[in-house]
């Protein structure tokens, strides 16, 4: 166990000096209506966010978790900026329901927008309060004081006091008011800098960084045993042979939930394998034919929701009508780290260490599932591999919790196997998007119709209401009922995220059809429905550009009045040297894709150049350029890393990935049956940021997924003359298209 963790477990009272100021000093800063601090999501007390710690440190506590996206470094930068301290004085506390603010999930590329704004406010208020107190102590006007790295200066000269002295030994429990003035942009020194990530040194030097690195005295090891699909019913198992195996502490069975705990890890793995041999499972669901998922989506029972409607479609006369259908398969998050969790039940409190995306929602869901009171459950975040949405982390946490309840006072470390993760995680839903547009006599889009078929994109077990989404809750003897598919409305949207084209189109009508019962477990995967919608819209824009014989940049710009969108595309055209690439049937081609994520967030345009080997259909990605406008950027290198990673991951989804399943369940169980992009397949990447310091900061983590997919399909079209509309765009599909003169 790391020493910081140990301190947290023991209670950190001795180490921490809380802010404390006389009420009179604070009165002027305290909102008359403290309940109104909406932005802080109910976490209005300043010491929830900021603590001053002995030894010249300031601890920032947030509810958003790190999974490699660099959010905690960005939040530390915001705090350092507002408090006028150096980065080396900032510590980010781990997210723990015992003391962290409740910021729900870390998702939807919303962390800078949400948590960043909250930290800025809390830190700005803390600085105000500290300065006010310094002014009182020094008997000087606040206006003459300034702060350098936590030391108070008077007209630029040291005063001999600093934050740590001001607050020493005092308590700080003040409500953050609504009207806090943050630092003016022109004075920024830390925000906007590519500050190195705080977590990287520990990771390269193999210090305690991950959940797997947590070792506790007396810790036992657990494994779960599941059928070939997670909803299979356990009909029969021989538990007695395994219970007698060396090192086995307990076989846990509750309905169809089956797990084993042993002293040593290998004993648990061997016992789990032995248990699996004697299991008889009955699969509950019948699976549709994996190769015809899009037809299945259309024929399955669904509910239709209107997404957008503008004018009636018949009001504009189109002279040329074009239509197309696009699809994507079920996709796995496929973290490099299979899910894991540690749980400890001491008879009174259940503590769960998890790498899930939301500790508070997880706490509610686990408490409800296990019949405990919320106060009896504590969830502590501990990092693991990247998650990219709602993967198996929450399920593993609840599995571990259920097991720990059977073995009081022993920390239980549960590790899912590679196959557990591939079979058990909720996938990003397959989708089908049909588009139809009319062009007028000038070659402009007159109208646009779009229909989307999809399963839900959100089955997060958020609190008691969502607990039925947890695997254990569904498997146990008295299962919880599974909540109905969640439909996320516009403007954010789930299946319909980014379903409304940003382009100027006089008449449009868009509907979504949500399939009521998914054949596989599904939930949020990075960018949700935006990936397929942007793939469809941006492929279709290319098809329309070809139909109107206009260059794809020009065609988009001709339909785009949003100035920031135009700038992103224009800049992409400048940097991409697209004109120098031979095209159409030469085997080389380029393509572009663009979107404003959620139509609310970052603007991202992607250019891809690639080659198609006409002999085997193999695609080689040569070069990609991306241009991004995310408003005010906290950490430019962090933004670049997110876009680079997004492009590589989206290229992998687009060219290679598909969850395979058949009548016997899920067949994607390892990296052979679910291959992803490797080093030799990754293109050269170049990301340019258009900085807009005057605009609000926007999340970027999901902005590149859709544009990359479309850029690849559009480039394949230019390289091979064939338009591929069904992801994954595999070599096999390209080859058969190239060989088929009828393929259009």
């Amino acid at each position: 166990m790391s020493s910081t963790r140990r301190q947290f477990l023991q209670g950190s009272g001795a180490l921490v000096a809380y802010f404390s100021l006389p009420a009179s000093v604070l009165a002027q800063y305290t909102s008359p209506n403290p309940g109104q601090t909406k932005e802080l999501r109910g976490n209005t007390s300043l010491d929830t966010w900021i603590r001053v710690e002995a030894g010249g440190l300031i601890v920032i506590s947030v509810g958003k978790v790190e999974f490699g996206q660099g959010i905690r470094t960005a939040l530390a930068q915001i705090a350092a900026e507002e408090l006028d301290i150096s980065m080396s004085r900032v510590r980010m506390a781990e997210v723990d329901t015992a003391h962290s603010p409740d910021e729900s999930y870390t998702f939807s590329a919303m962390s800078v927008q949400q948590s960043g704004t909250r930290v800025r406010k809390a830190a700005a208020y803390a600085r105000q309060v500290l300065l006010a107190h310094a002014a009182k102590t020094l008997n000087l006007p606040t206006a003459e004081l300034s702060v350098v790295n936590g030391s108070i200066l008077h007209n630029g000269q040291p005063t001999g006091i600093d934050y740590w002295e001001i607050l020493e030994g005092k308590d700080f429990d003040r409500v953050v008011p609504d009207d806090v003035t943050a630092k003016p942009l022109e004075q920024y020194q830390v925000i906007g800098q590519s500050v190195p990530r705080l977590d990287i040194p520990d990771k390269v030097f193999a210090k305690t960084s991950y959940l797997a690195d947590q070792r506790m005295p007396d810790m036992a090891h657990a494994r779960v045993v599941r059928g070939s699909s997670p909803d299979a019913r356990l009909l029969e198992v021989d538990t007695s042979t395994v219970a007698a195996m060396r090192g086995v502490l307990k076989v846990v069975r509750d309905g169809s939930f089956l797990a084993v705990v042993a002293e040593r890890e290998m004993q648990a793995t061997q016992a789990a394998a032995k248990l699996a041999e004697s299991c008889r499972w009955q699969a509950k669901k019948t699976f549709p034919d994996a190769s015809r998922v899009s037809e299945w989506l259309k024929s399955a029972k669904s509910q239709t929701y209107p997404v957008a409607e503008r004018l009636s479609l018949s009001e504009k006369a189109a002279v040329k009508v074009h239509s197309a259908q696009y699809s994507r398969p079920f996709l796995a998050h496929a973290s490099i780290a299979p899910s894991a969790a540690i749980a400890l039940w001491n008879g009174k409190v259940l503590t769960v260490w998890s790498h899930g995306q939301g500790m508070y929602p997880l706490r509610g869901a686990i408490a409800h599932t296990l019949g405990l009171k919320q106060q009896q459950v504590r969830c502590v975040h501990s990092e693991s591999g990247g998650v990219y949405g709602h993967n198996g982390a929450d399920d593993a946490a609840c599995d571990a919790a259920a097991i720990a309840m059977q073995l009081p006072n022993r920390p239980i470390k549960l590790q899912w196997s590679r196959a557990d993760e591939f079979r058990g995680e909720p996938y990003g839903s397959a989708m089908m998007v049909s588009t139809r547009a009319g062009l007028d006599s000038q070659g402009r889009i007159a109208d646009w119709q779009q229909d989307i078929w999809s399963c839900t994109h959100s089955t997060r077990p958020g609190g008691a209401a969502g607990a039925g989404n947890l695997l254990y809750a569904q498997q146990k003897q008295k299962p919880l009922s599974v909540p109905p598919p969640r439909v996320i409305p516009q403007p954010i949207g789930g299946a319909d995220r980014n379903a409304v084209p940003l382009y100027d189109i006089p008449a449009l009508k868009i509907n979504k059809h949500i399939v009521l019962e998914a054949p596989l477990r599904v939930s949020a995967l990075r960018s949700l429905g935006a990936y397929a919608n942007i793939f469809a819209i941006e492929s279709f824009m290319d098809e329309l550009a070809v139909a109107s014989a206009v260059d794809p940049f020009e065609f988009r710009l001709a339909h785009l009045s949003d100035q920031r969108a135009r700038r992103v595309l224009e800049r992409l055209r400048e940097v991409s040297a697209w004109g120098q690439i031979p095209t159409y049937g030469t085997g080389k081609g380029w393509g572009i894709g663009f979107a404003k994520y959620k139509n609310l967030s970052a603007y991202c345009a992607v250019f891809v150049s690639l080659s198609v080997d006409q002999k085997n259909g193999q695609v080689t990605l040569d070069k990609t350029h991306a241009v991004i406008d995310a408003g005010l950027v906290v950490n430019p290198d962090g933004v670049r890393a997110q876009i680079e990673g997004g492009i590589v991951q989206s290229a992998s989804w687009t060219l290679k990935e598909q969850v395979k399943f058949g009548s016997l369940g899920v067949r994607s169980t390892d990296w052979m049956s679910y291959p992803i992009l490797g080093f030799s397949e990754v293109p050269e990447l170049d990301v340019e940021i258009i900085e807009r310091r005057d605009q609000p900061w926007l999340g970027v983590a999901e902005a590149a997924q859709g544009p990359t997919a479309a850029a690849i399909a559009n480039a394949i079209f230019r390289a091979s003359g064939k338009r591929l509309r069904d992801i994954p765009l595999t070599a096999l599909k390209i080859l058969s298209a190239v060989k088929d003169p009828q393929f259009a």
Binding site: I200, V204, A206, D213, I336, R418, S680
Partner: protein, 157 residues
């Protein structure tokens, strides 16, 4: 059974079921964090360690197989006080997102650099062909390895 080997330059001995995967012995018995569990199937590279200077997958090697041999983990390559050039380069290039794959990348790159101090991009691609990164940090990882290689040759001349 007692297994004796050299771990990060120190002679160690361990009484253990000889079939235990080396990865488990390193993580659970020696409490090392470098090698990670990613698949247990020799498919991802997260568990890589150096065995007699060669990168191997500790998840599928029984601990008995290293009896009498030299094992080096990420911890043994270098530390904050005395870092390996690759560790420095990974920091300088910010060559990771989640970093769960980084152990495998650094260990395999270390083996590559011991054979070839001036690797080209294609040599790096080849050396890391069976190392998976789900976050898409590949371009940065390649840059970090090239930076480390450059600093090595600079040291020599």
């Amino acid at each position: 059974m007692t297994i004796n080997f050299k771990l990060n330059d120190k002679a160690v001995s361990l009484d253990i079921d000889p079939k235990t995967p080396l990865l488990e012995a390193l993580r659970n018995d020696f409490e090392l964090n470098g090698p990670k569990f990613g698949c247990g199937l020799a498919q991802c590279g997260a568990c890589s360690v150096l065995l007699e200077g060669e990168a191997v997958r500790s998840c599928v090697i029984p601990v008995a197989a290293v009896n009498g041999l030299n094992v080096t983990t990420l911890e043994g390559l270098g530390n904050q006080q005395n870092p390996h050039v690759l560790q420095l380069a990974f920091i300088e290039e910010q060559a990771m997102q989640c970093g769960y794959c980084s152990n495998g990348m650094i260990i395999n790159a270390a083996a590559l650099l011991s054979r070839n101090q001036t690797p080209e991009k294609k040599d790096i691609d080849k050396a890391l062909a069976a190392n998976l990164c789900r976050c898409g940090a590949h371009p940065r990882i390649v840059r970090a390895i090239q930076r480390a290689a450059k600093s090595l040759t600079k040291d020599v001349t």
